[in-house]
């Protein structure tokens, strides 16, 4: 036996950029994260050709999941065409041979910065969310070892307390995005900073969601058909952003999550945050062909 028979020919780069041992470790951690929904799994976040804080955690999970038949969509704050989304998407396609798309319905793998598409995801789709801060307990316990112990003990009293204090001070819960949610009745997670509008989309969803923080080197998952319940008091219902009455000034779509665009006269116009949904609506209005899938929200209400 020669050494050459045990090795593969030299290649400039591994398939999907990450080397095999990095992917192996990530796969093990991803399986573990699926097995314990919402529990943060540490991993050795590798270097990728992007600065930490720009979605390196999500990128590593996506690179591990990619295969030549994947169809990949990348979202940055709802948009497919922002610089960061476009460069991540072309990088993913370049290192894997996967097809690129903007269309939620066509994608098999969706990496997203802080939005879940408005169209309902299917069982054959995987969502990867980029996470800047994976620790829901950070506002109440900056010490990571203590926070870990609190997770182990399901000791979330202090998290409830800050929510209660906000109600006392401001009359409502002031948490904006990244609303803490209890996963599978056991672990509290911070659902990356997706808006409150998007958190109910994770509850008993058909698709698998990974949330990965590259800078903090931790990932966690919400498997299909898992309970995701935002922390709320029984007498104060969970409130999503008040966007049910808004209309997109470009596409005419109503009752979805919107970006607010300040106008010269001091007022504001609104525009769909899920940019490709808007594009499809405009195409349809112009008589073109564009299929819009079933949406999570109808008339501003979660279905």
């Amino acid at each position: 036996m020669t050494l050459a028979s045990l090795t593969r020919p030299w290649e400039a780069m591994s398939y999907g950029f990450l080397d095999a041992s990095a992917k192996r470790e990530l796969r093990r951690k991803m399986l573990k994260a699926i097995a314990v929904p919402g529990c943060q799994m540490p991993y050795a976040s590798r270097e990728v050709p992007m600065a930490r804080g720009w979605g390196t955690g999500g990128l590593q999970v996506t690179l591990t999941l990619l295969k030549p038949s994947s169809v990949v969509k990348v979202i940055d704050q709802g948009a497919d065409d922002s610089v960061n989304a476009a460069s991540i998407r072309s990088f993913l396609a370049k290192v894997s041979g996967a097809r690129e798309t903007w269309d939620t319905l066509a994608a098999t793998l969706i990496q997203s910065r802080h939005r879940i598409p408005e169209e309902r995801l299917r069982a054959d789709q995987v969502l990867v969310l980029q996470v800047p801060n994976p620790e829901p307990l950070r506002p109440v316990e900056p010490n990571m070892s203590h926070a870990r112990q609190m997770h182990a003990d399901a000791d979330y009293g202090r998290l409830w307390l800050i929510l209660y204090e906000e109600i006392v001070r401001a009359g409502r819960i002031m948490q904006g995005a990244a609303y803490p949610a209890l996963v599978n009745g056991r672990h509290v997670m911070t659902p990356s900073p997706i808006p409150r509008w998007d958190v109910p989309k994770l509850h008993m969803a058909r698709h698998l969601t990974f949330l990965s923080a590259g800078r903090e080197k931790r990932l966690f998952a919400v498997p299909p058909f898992t309970r995701v319940e935002p922390l709320v008091f029984s007498d104060l219902p969970y409130r999503v952003e008040d966007h049910a009455g808004l209309t997109c000034h470009r596409s005419g779509m109503k009752s979805f999550f919107m970006n607010e665009i300040p106008q010269a006269d001091g007022g504001s116009a609104h525009e769909l945050s899920d940019s490709h949904l808007g594009i499809k609506a405009i195409r349809q209005a112009e008589g073109g062909r564009a299929e819009i899938g079933p949406t999570w929200y109808r008339d501003g209400r979660m279905r």
Binding site: G176, R215, E260
Partner: protein, 109 residues
């Protein structure tokens, strides 16, 4: 009138919901073109005053996380759009204001 030369300066203004529950501003300026430093300086200005010992926004913890090379990407990522997260905070601020008439405007003029 005379001119001694030109000096390039960079400055950054950042905003976030502060401890008062309103939007607050942080500011930093440096000589030269210095993105990471102005952004981390401005976030420090926003968060550090009055921060309790041991909290993540206290100066010591904060600099420990924003000074290293690894954090430069995190600092510069604040130049990326944050429409969604900001919209979500704004919604909570407006909701709280509507619930308590006479409360100060959450968005400073």
């Amino acid at each position: 009138m005379f001119s001694a030369g030109r000096v390039k300066v960079s400055q950054a203004e950042v905003t976030s919901k502060g401890t008062s529950g309103l939007l607050e501003l942080g500011f930093c300026a440096t000589l030269g073109w210095n993105e990471v430093k102005v952004i981390s300086g401005a976030t420090l200005d926003l968060n550090a005053p009055g921060a309790a010992k041991g909290t993540p926004v206290e100066e010591e913890f904060f600099l420990y996380h924003t000074e290293p090379v690894e954090a430069s990407g995190f600092c510069i990522h604040f130049k990326l759009p944050h429409y969604v997260t900001f919209q979500s905070s704004l919604d909570a601020l407006r909701g709280a204001r509507a619930a308590t008439p006479g409360a100060p405007d959450p968005v400073p003029a």
